[in-house]
């Protein structure tokens, strides 16, 4: 140990030690507790102790024991005691406490105190602690203050307090008593306007909001007098609100309320909100509709004025706050289209990058407009646009440039929002442009991932962004026109190149189907050739971009012959075969070493590599039927044989299966291993937001038969191989039981299958299939179903599990059919039994129901 540290320790040992610091706080609060219990403790000492207690409160120490003491301090007749007593009461108590009844008398007295500051403290406390009892007992005193006081200070607080009492009074007792005409007579009629400070205005606004919100929440059966009075008064008050708002919204420097040259943005927003509520009431409750009839036009006028005037002082946060409130009101009230477009323009303006020019014009150390001001308006604008994009998708789509620009904002929440909005406005017309933007964005994010320098978002965040983008992009592959297939493929490969090392292989389902479904054969093959050439030219295989490799492997299996033919000699059979050999070695080694080193930590990589080998096996098999060179064919066979003793059962099984097919006569083999047909894709959104992609064929039964391998391939994608090595632990699965009304629709010595009607309506049917192994447990169960052409099928996953199913253990699968006609079903099951035999079961079933 360094000599210094030693000397420090020696120094500490030499000094005498003091009390343990950790106990100091506990001791303090114990001391305070004892002190406060002393009834003879003078108020001054009490105050000191309460002050200490409040400090402990901020530190998060328990302070409830002193609640009564706080209330007692209010009982003092000294201002200094009352002030602290009220402060402590507001902090230490909340509306839920029974103790509040102790306050009733004290508050009652202080509301009538000659000292206006004591009255104000009582009002503040009542406002923050208005339990039902307190409100009931004290509202007359608050109304009395509004009626009699001529001090704006007291009136401000009384109105705020009253607003709180009203909103809590669902029985409308206060509304019945409160003389609403007072607002007009006492405050709005000249010569009383001197009472109308901004504080009083804020208070009046709050009271009006409370009244309106309460009325909106209550269903009014008959129409009592006081409700009519409210309507009449709202009709009278409304023009005043409009006038006040429009007079505030002009440039007029008044330092007391000025914020960056804007007159009291707080009051402006409060009036806008009040107007919003009143018009909401007028819109929703018939009784109040005269308000709308009479003032709708003026209301629209002032909104137009607000948007115009405020645009003069753009870039200032207070102005933006007002404009933001205006646009939210426009959309909440679903105001007319020209206003809605105005609103969208305002929000789009918030997104403009030029806005960042705003800034440090302000003097003083606390700059209001520091750099992220710009971010904040972007955030609120995107947020609002996302909420209203359904109302005006096209108008918002016009601003796509600004929206895309926000993809590059350093703030991840803004990135996400602009992504969400980009996908919301994406349509056939702007598809190419926006996808290009998104590819640029993916480029940026993946680059950021690689850069070791200054990283502004972390790895997890970029992964999240990429996955979100990919998930949404694949759903848009359908939007491409048939004459845009080339672009579509180019985009797809570009996306994979950028992100293939960061997304999971499960996502490739949609990519494969998209490639598979490209109708223009020449375009498809040319594109593959291009990519394979550039891929191989790099010399060594990029191991990190696993998804890219997977697509290559799959394409080679499907189109190997066409690729070599169309490559003008750039790609030879041998190259393709060697490529598969290399990858096979790569993934076999890594999967073996990872399972050896750390089976649990690298589970994902391990599973991915198993998936890759499965694809390599299938691809090798398929390619072998498409080429002629004996040496190459033998190499492919070796790849397959390579896994005959694989520790992974699934691979072992596949290897053996494939070898059997491999040895079939060439013509039969070729027929079995033809390219996959076109797939119709259906996406079902489950309640829990996980997407199950299931594929049903176009109900062309022969094509299913011809391509038995197709099912196999698809199951590779949709069901991730579990690490089903022989030693793998069985998952705990909840036991399913057969419903009483389930009927048997198929059985053989292997299993019995039941169906059960969940719901059948014209156009829609929902069934559940139940599978029960009879003689042997199933290591795996895969099911695929087809329905007639005029119907569409959505197939759920096998629940609770599709592997390691015991004898007599029930599993189920949901089956949703949409369309018309008789309900017929072709079911095809691939089963791997407990002793690792593969069995196929196929049967047709006619349901009794028709849709």
């Amino acid at each position: 140990m360094g000599s210094s540290l030693k000397s420090f320790i020696k120094d500490i040992r030499n000094a005498k030690t003091l009390a343990d610091q950790r106990t100091i706080i506990t001791k303090q609060s114990a001391k305070i507790r004892t002190k406060l219990r002393d009834d003879h403790l003078p108020f001054s000492k009490r105050r000191v102790n309460i002050q200490k207690l409040l400090y402990l409160y901020i530190l998060g120490e328990p302070t409830h024991f002193a609640q009564v003491e706080c209330i007692n301090l209010i009982a003092s007749d000294q201002f200094v005691d009352k002030r602290l007593g009220y402060l402590a009461t507001m902090l230490l108590l909340d509306e839920k406490q029974d103790l509040l009844t102790l306050l009733t008398n004290l508050l009652n007295n202080d509301l009538h105190h000659p000292n206006k500051y004591i009255v104000s403290l009582a009002l503040s406390t009542l406002g923050s602690l208005s339990s039902y009892e307190l409100a009931r007992d004290l509202y007359p005193d608050v109304i009395h203050l509004i009626e009699t006081s001529s001090d704006p200070f007291i009136l401000t607080k009384s109105f705020q307090c009253l607003a709180k009492l009203i909103i809590k009074d669902s029985e409308l007792t206060i509304l019945e008593i409160f003389p609403i005409e007072l607002i007009k007579e006492k405050f709005l009629d000249s010569p009383n306007v001197s009472l109308l400070t901004h504080g009083v205005w804020l208070g009046i606004c709050k009271v009006l909001q409370s009244i309106v919100i309460l009325l909106l929440d209550t269903s009014i059966q008959e129409t009592p007098e006081f409700i009519l009075a409210i309507r009449e008064n709202l009709l009278i008050i409304l023009p005043n609100l409009l006038d006040q708002l429009s007079s505030l919204n002009v440039k007029n420097y008044e330092s007391n309320y000025d914020v960056q040259g804007i007159r009291d943005p707080f009051l402006q927003c409060e009036i806008i909100i009040t107007l919003k509520w009143i018009f909401k009431l007028a819109k929703k409750v018939e009784l109040f509709s005269p308000i709308k009839t009479k003032y709708d036009e003026k209301f629209i006028d002032i909104f137009t004025q607000l948007t115009n005037n405020s645009s003069l002082s753009l870039n200032k946060n207070p102005t933006n706050a007002i404009l933001y409130e205006v646009t939210r009101t426009i959309f909440e009230l679903e105001m007319n289209q020209s206003l809605r477009l105005l609103g969208i323009n305002i929000l789009a303006n918030f997104l403009k990058p030029t806005n960042s020019a705003s800034g440090s014009t302000e003097k003083g150390k606390k700059s209001k407009t520091n750099s992220n001001n710009n971010n904040n308006i972007k955030y609120v604008a995107l947020n609002t646009l996302i909420r209203v994009v359904q109302q005006e998708p096209n108008a918002i789509a016009k601003h796509k440039k600004f929206i895309s620009h926000c993809l590059y904002d350093p703030d991840i929440s803004i990135k996400f929002r602009s992504l969400e909005l980009t996908f919301a406005i994406l349509n056939k017309d702007n598809l190419i442009e926006l996808v290009n933007e998104l590819i640029k964005f993916l480029h940026d994010v993946s680059l950021n991932n690689v850069n070791s320098g200054y990283v502004y978002i972390d790895m997890d965040e970029s992964k999240e962004l990429i996955n979100y983008t990919i998930d949404n992009l694949v759903k848009r592959f359908d939007l491409y026109d048939s004459n845009q297939e080339k672009v579509k493929l180019q985009n797809l490969f570009e996306i994979l190149k950028l992100t293939g090392n960061m997304i999971s292989v499960d996502k490739l389902n949609e990519f494969l189907i998209t490639i598979n479904n490209v109708e223009d054969w020449k375009i498809k093959i040319n594109c593959l050739v291009e990519n394979i050439v550039s891929h191989m030219q790099k010399g060594k295989i990029p191991t990190s971009n696993i998804c890219w490799n997977l697509i290559m492997i799959w394409s080679i299996g499907e189109y190997g012959d066409s690729i070599t033919n169309q490559s003008n000699g750039k790609i030879s059979e041998t190259q393709l075969v060697n490529y598969l050999i290399q990858l096979n070695t790569l993934y076999s080694n890594t999967s073996k070493s990872s399972i050896k080193n750390n089976p649990s930590a690298t589970n994902n990589t391990y599973n991915d590599h198993i998936t890759m080998i499965q694809y390599i096996l299938t691809s090798s098999l398929k390619l072998s039927s498409k080429i002629n060179d004996g040496g190459n064919i033998e190499s492919l066979r070796q790849i397959i044989l390579n896994h005959q003793k694989d520790p992974n059962l699934m691979l072992q099984l596949k290897s053996n299966q494939y070898e059997m097919i491999f040895n079939q006569p060439a013509n039969l083999k070729k027929l079995m291993l033809e390219c996959m047909p076109n797939f119709v894709r259906q996406i079902e959104t489950n309640g829990d937001e996980t997407f199950t992609h299931t594929i049903s064929t176009k109900a062309e039964a022969p094509s299913i038969d011809k391509n038995s391998n197709l099912l196999d391939l698809l199951s590779d994608i949709s069901d991730k191989p579990s690490n089903s090595t022989a030693s793998s632990v069985k998952k705990e699965v909840s036991a399913l039981t057969l419903p009483n009304d389930a009927v048997s629709i198929f059985n053989n010595d292997l299993l019995e299958i039941y169906s059960h009607v969940v719901d059948v309506q014209p156009g829609n049917a929902h069934y559940e299939l139940f599978f029960k192994p009879l003689s042997t447990p199933f290591n795996e169960l895969h099911s695929l179903c087809a329905v007639p052409k005029q119907q569409k099928l959505t197939l759920g996953q096998i629940q609770p599990t599709h592997n390691n199913i015991d004898v007599n253990q029930i599993t189920k699968q949901s089956l949703k059919i949409a369309g018309t006609g008789k309900l017929k079903l072709r079911v095809k099951l691939n089963i791997v039994t407990g002793n690792n035999e593969t069995q196929q079961v196929q049967f047709d079933h006619k349901f009794n129901e028709t849709i």
Partner: protein, 156 residues
């Protein structure tokens, strides 16, 4: 209705310096909010926006003089931009009262910081007074009344 749910002052060192709850919460819930928000807000980079989604709330914060002023509001109801102004108004008022407010002032005069907040906001966290001058005048008058009382006691 524009109302803030809570206001927290947290130092750059992660210490809580002031808290005001406008909604009733158990002390367990409060501790949870404070701890989680301290973590979240302190980790925010300067270029990020000042609005964070947190639990049922949206949180708007501003960093001033080594303190984070953190305000919880209701998503889709409250105006985030106006909340930033409200924080700023509070800071300005503290600034005028203390003369360039610093963390130490808040630690030793936290009751004053509360007093100012209570003049500015009321009830369930709604803004009651938008004039800085009015707030400061009220506080000054109440302060001098405090002194009166204390003097009285010395005299008697």
């Amino acid at each position: 209705m524009s109302q803030i749910k809570y206001l927290l002052l947290i130092s750059r060192q992660g210490k809580i310096r002031l808290m005001k709850w406008f909604i009733p919460l158990s002390s367990k819930e409060k501790t949870k909010i404070i701890n989680e928000l301290t973590q979240t807000i302190l980790a925010r980079k300067p270029k990020m926006c000042n609005i964070v989604e947190y639990s049922d709330y949206k949180v708007v914060y501003r960093r001033y003089a080594s303190l984070y002023f953190i305000v919880g509001i209701t998503p889709d109801v409250d105006n985030e931009l106006l909340t930033l102004e409200l924080i700023h108004r509070y800071v300005e008022t503290l600034d005028s009262y203390f003369g360039n407010v610093c963390e130490l002032d808040i630690i030793f005069n936290f009751t004053k910081a509360y007093d100012i907040l209570n003049e500015m906001t009321m009830c369930d966290g709604s803004l009651a007074e938008s004039s800085k001058r009015n707030i400061l005048q009220t506080i000054a008058t109440m302060d001098s009344m405090d002194d009166h009382d204390k003097l009285d006691r010395v005299l008697s």
